[in-house]
């Protein structure tokens, strides 16, 4: 069930009414847990079985770790092996299956048809990271294991976050699950702008830009200029799509009385890779920092080891995103950028005294991001190589017009996001301009909504 579907609207309204009619916290949690499993099982019921078994496994394992501190290491290893193993099996089977299949064809051996039919359960990448963080924190002694199975189950399966995050931490969500919740108008006050902006970004901005971008990446040999134009448009599409999802997720959670973390803070205004990752998919980057980069030693090691840690962390980040060599290159590219910027002394807190230097750094970073997102979006590295070597940079006169057509759509539809960003920065929240903006956004949704809305991009990861 996607947030943009009519089925979801009906499901959500019934659930919300029932949830607030029930006064007891235990029943509210049980209802939310049941609803989360129904939400998840809507397409493939066996997904819910996988979610249920893996939740039970980590629930008992965390309790065992707390009870047997002498066996923490082995129990943690079991949990990591299982969680990463399941994720790797579903996520990367296709990755290798395609290569194995090609090899078999070259050897004139027919590949088994079932090889390519392993479906990735939606949201697996997201809830697996949630569970790993929980078990690691319990093993470190920084978190008490949750004894209430319903509360733990809800932490893992909480439906607003289940498919595409944010990757919430137990320290944030479980205490809220364990607190009494009574309806407050405050929840609605915080939720409605998030929901409105989320649907606006998804339905009006992301889906419209998508139709322009997708047309380029299905061409046989588009010119490099056309690819760059489409990539630029894609950057805004992805931001609108993913931040839109996060806004909806946070808005929905808010209506149930939960405060969940944000994922984006104007990422394309970053001046360094470290600043970018402080603002882009924040819950993933902080997860990678806390559960991979720091355990590897972070920056408190030799320079060479520090650089390796950066490269390795981003390599894993690329692999997490998908089964394709382009994601590996994407991750390593970010790793290499981070190493170079660190070597130049341009880290997270870097801010030059001269304004012009800062602006130049932002433009350079934006151009570097353009290359990164090119790797992220291309169908394959072979396709990119073919397009780059196929002809001149601009291609034919028609291709130049096509590049401008694509860029035009991307930029025109990105303008409302840029306007909102500037309004948030410069205007008081009580300004009438916000009312006008939201009213126009609602009209835009009405104009662009249709029952065949595309899936959120990050749902595929």
């Amino acid at each position: 069930m996607a947030f943009t579907e009519y089925d979801f609207l009906v499901f959500f309204l019934i659930l919300l009414a029932a949830y607030w009619l029930i006064k007891r916290r235990a029943w509210q949690n049980a209802l939310l847990l049941l609803a989360s499993y129904i939400f998840y099982a809507w397409v493939h019921p066996w997904y819910a079985l996988l979610l249920g078994f893996s939740t039970l496994f980590d629930y008992f394992l965390a309790l065992a770790i707390a009870a047997r501190r002498d066996r923490t290491k082995s129990l943690l290893t079991i949990s990591l092996l299982l969680n990463v193993g399941v994720l790797a099996f579903f996520k990367y089977f296709d990755f290798f299956a395609a290569d194995i299949s090609r090899l078999l064809i070259r050897l004139h051996l027919a590949p088994d048809g079932t090889l390519l039919q392993i479906l990735l359960p939606l949201g697996l990448s997201f809830f697996t990271l949630k569970k790993i963080a929980y078990v690691v924190d319990v093993s470190r002694g920084t978190l008490e294991p949750e004894r209430d199975l319903t509360a733990f189950g809800l932490f893992v399966a909480f439906f607003p976050q289940l498919l595409v995050g944010p990757i919430d931490r137990a320290q944030n969500l479980i205490p809220q699950i364990q607190s009494d919740r009574v309806w407050k108008p405050e929840y609605f006050k915080r939720a409605w702008p998030l929901l409105l902006m989320g649907f606006f970004k998804k339905i009006v901005i992301a889906d419209t830009i998508r139709s322009a971008v997708d047309r380029v990446f299905v061409l046989g040999e588009p010119s490099p200029l056309l690819i760059l134009a489409a990539t630029l448009a894609f950057m805004f599409q992805l931001l609108a799509d993913f931040s839109g999802y996060t806004d909806i997720s946070r808005g929905l959670a808010c209506l149930f009385g939960f405060d969940t973390p944000e994922n984006f803070r104007a990422p394309f205004t970053a001046a360094t890779p470290a600043q970018f990752w402080d603002r882009w998919h924040i819950t993933l980057s902080t997860w990678l920092r806390d559960y991979l980069y720091f355990p590897l030693g972070g920056s408190r090691v030799s320079t060479a080891r520090h650089y390796f840690n950066l490269l390795f962390t981003f390599f894993i980040c690329g692999l997490w995103h998908g089964a394709g060599w382009n994601y590996v290159v994407w991750g390593l590219y970010f790793g290499a950028l981070s190493v170079i910027y660190r070597a130049l002394g341009m880290g997270r807190d870097w801010k030059p005294s001269r304004r012009i230097t800062y602006w130049v750094a932002r433009v350079v970073m934006f151009l570097l991001l353009l290359v990164a997102f090119l790797f992220f979006r291309i169908p394959s590295l072979d396709w990119l190589a073919g397009a780059l070597t196929g002809g001149t940079f601009t291609g034919s006169a028609q291709s130049v017009v096509a590049a401008l057509v694509t860029l035009s759509t991307g930029l025109v539809y990105a303008i409302p996001m840029l306007v909102k960003h500037e309004m948030d920065r410069r205007l008081p929240s009580t300004s009438i301009l916000f009312d006008i903006y939201f009213a126009l956004a609602a009209l835009g949704i009405l104009l662009y909504v249709n029952s065949g809305a595309a899936d959120f991009i990050y749902a595929q990861f």
């Binding site: 009519y6 299905v218 096509a402 009405l446 909504v449």
Partner: protein, 343 residues
Amino acid sequence: MRFFLKYLALLLLSLAGLTWYIPFHYDMEYPQPAGPRFTDEIRKIHARIIEENHVEVVLVGDSTLDRSVDETLFSEVIGQRAHMIRIPASSTALWYLVLKNILIGETTNPPDTMILMFRDTILTLPDYHVSGGRETEIDEYATANEDFVVQTAYLNFMNPLEIAAEQYLPLYGARRRITDSIESYSRALLPGLFLSCGVECSARTFGDVFINIENINPDFSQGVLMGEEENLYTSRALNFDAQIGRSFLPELIRLARESGINLIFVHARTLTFPNLESQPDGLAEYKSKLFAYLAQNNVAVLDYSFDPRLPPEYFADPLHMNAQGQAVFSRILGEDIRNLIPR
């Protein structure tokens, strides 16, 4: 909360203004009937060919028909004048309109036989291939009064909110026209500024570069083709008992019978499932129910699903035959049809 109320007041005010302005601007009724509105004009070329050539057999189908049957060769084999109405990506809504409005409605002497080529569950999926560009195609065969088609192919698949919005919110009802116009202007903004290429020039380039099938990566176009085909094998599509009552099939049979047209269904051979074993769960059961239904209604059906005379070498892609396959199949089909048509 005052912030929300201010916003809501603004929204309602704008909606009220647009509800007054849009019907006036686009010359729309209010409330507008839900579902697509078709114009009264019908494409008459097929009716003219049928009339002028005294066509006796008409074949109707999508691109699988187009690529698997050679009209001239087929006519020679059956010894009667045949005409093919092949509309790529068409489906039952359009085939029903071809029978009702072209073969019956527009000809003084309807053909004796209509051969309808289909595959798998397409005959009982009334909402398959009816939206987007296909809606425009359907309009070419529809009159302004197609309540049955609108209900069967569209309204039955719209939720109550959508139906109410289409009727009472002109902004929603006219959304396609409005967004098309916004999109064409936004596409032309930069080409217009830098290359003096305005709305028309940008639209032309858009069509030449992005809609031209020759520019599309073949792997991708095949992927899209097969992705579309997946809609034929969902659990809903495979549920014959639930689908038959809401499909165009009973009406197709009734109309043909009442007009004295001999209706013959032909199940195309494709490589989506090249043999019996590769079929998804439920397809074999679906087909047996479909064939039983057709037999019960005295409608002939020829099934080439797994015909060994049509090996994979005869196919250009999983759905379409190559020239060699077309030549062979035209002859096979012609010989089988010859035995089923009045002489």
